[in-house]
């Protein structure tokens, strides 16, 4: 049940966007149409599911104090290793997709370079590290579930946002609020709505 809890919590309660503001830059920039939002959401979820467990293994068996060699603490290298893993992985996926599925590449490809600097990806890995230290995540399996949940939460948020923004085209928004201004306020209101999920447990 604990694993299910991690899953539910990472989608609804610790939602990447509403609770932690992760990935806000691409969230605001790419949420203008539902179609592109779906594409970016899928790409982010995929990269999260792969990089969180990868970084989990690296952190647990290489970087953590006493993990590699007794008495050696490499945890100060955490940031640089995490970002290198993410950048390398994104590059790899881009090359593979380009070679084997040009049609998928034309749909997804434009988002991939955006993802390496999407803070949701780095953020999930950093939270994973914190949860490992705090004893909340105890296995690779749970880290995969955490990555999947965080990704789905982000996906859900950006698609909902895009749907709302498509509708707001027909609204009379004050000139100064158009664009990012109203996007921030809508996100805030959605965040308040998501607060009803806090405290649920399975």
């Amino acid at each position: 049940m604990e694993t299910l809890n991690i899953f539910i919590k990472s989608i609804f309660i610790d939602n990447m966007v509403f609770a932690f503001f992760f990935g806000m830059c691409s969230y605001i920039a790419v949420s203008k149409s539902v179609k592109t939002a779906l594409g970016l959401g899928a790409a982010v979820t995929f990269v999260l599911v792969m990089t969180v467990p990868l970084n989990y293994l690296l952190y647990n068996y290489v970087l953590k104090a006493d993990a590699l060699v007794q008495g050696v603490d490499l945890s100060f290298l955490t940031f640089i290793i995490f970002i290198a893993t993410i950048a390398a992985f994104v590059q790899l996926v881009e090359m593979i997709v380009e070679k084997f599925s040009p049609s998928l590449y034309s749909q997804l490809g434009i988002f991939l370079p955006l993802i390496a600097v999407n803070c949701a990806i780095m953020g999930a890995s950093l939270f994973m590290q914190q949860k490992v230290d705090g004893g909340e995540l105890t296995s690779v399996w749970q880290s995969i579930v955490y990555g999947l949940g965080s990704g789905l939460g982000w996906w859900l948020a950006i698609v909902m946002m895009a749907a709302i923004r498509e509708k707001t085209t027909y609204s009379h928004i004050p000139a100064a609020l158009k664009g990012p201004g109203i996007a921030f306020i809508i996100t805030g209101l959605m965040g308040i709505a998501f607060m009803i999920f806090s405290g649920i447990q399975f």
């Binding site: 509403f18 830059c25 803070c119 953020g123 914190q130 609020l177 921030f184 805030g188």
Partner: protein
Amino acid sequence: MSNKNLKYLTGPFSANNPVIVQILGICSALAVTVQLKPAIVMALSVTAVTAFANLVMSLLRNGLPSRIRIIVQLVVIATLVILVDQVLKAFVYDVSKQLSVYVGLIITNCIVMGRVEAFALGNGPWASFLDGIGNGLGYGLILVVIAFFRELFGAGTLYGFRVIPESWYIAEGGFYSNNGLMLFPPMALILCGCIIWVHRSKNKDLQEK
């Protein structure tokens, strides 16, 4: 300081503000605005990283192989962030605990990467350094404004000092109560939206058609 250099420094404060005009670097920022103290430390950390990342990349720009440009940028930025993180952990431990993972997220803060790409690779070290400081401070300005409102209305304190007297509170027989919602993440977004609203009402050229 020449006029041109001064413009690099002060431009990002308002007309070219990284947060509310360029919409960069919101990710790692809003969560540290519950109180002024972590917001100021975060602003200073980002300023230091942006300034030095710009400086280093500007110095390296002539010898830089273009094929590995992005990864070199990431390595330089990550190194600077680790240094900042280590210094914070050693000297202001309680603040570094409050900032938690957000220090690490300076690496993926689009301001740093964005300024290196857009400015440092095409300009001299001194101008790049000033541009970095300017953008860091412009970002910090927004953080401080948001943190000011959130701490004042959410907790009745500023920088940890009590501003609204205890005797005003209902528990003490007064009439006032803190707005707990201010402490929750959504209010940071709504406040940021309001700042953009005010800012664009004053600067009509930034408004979207």
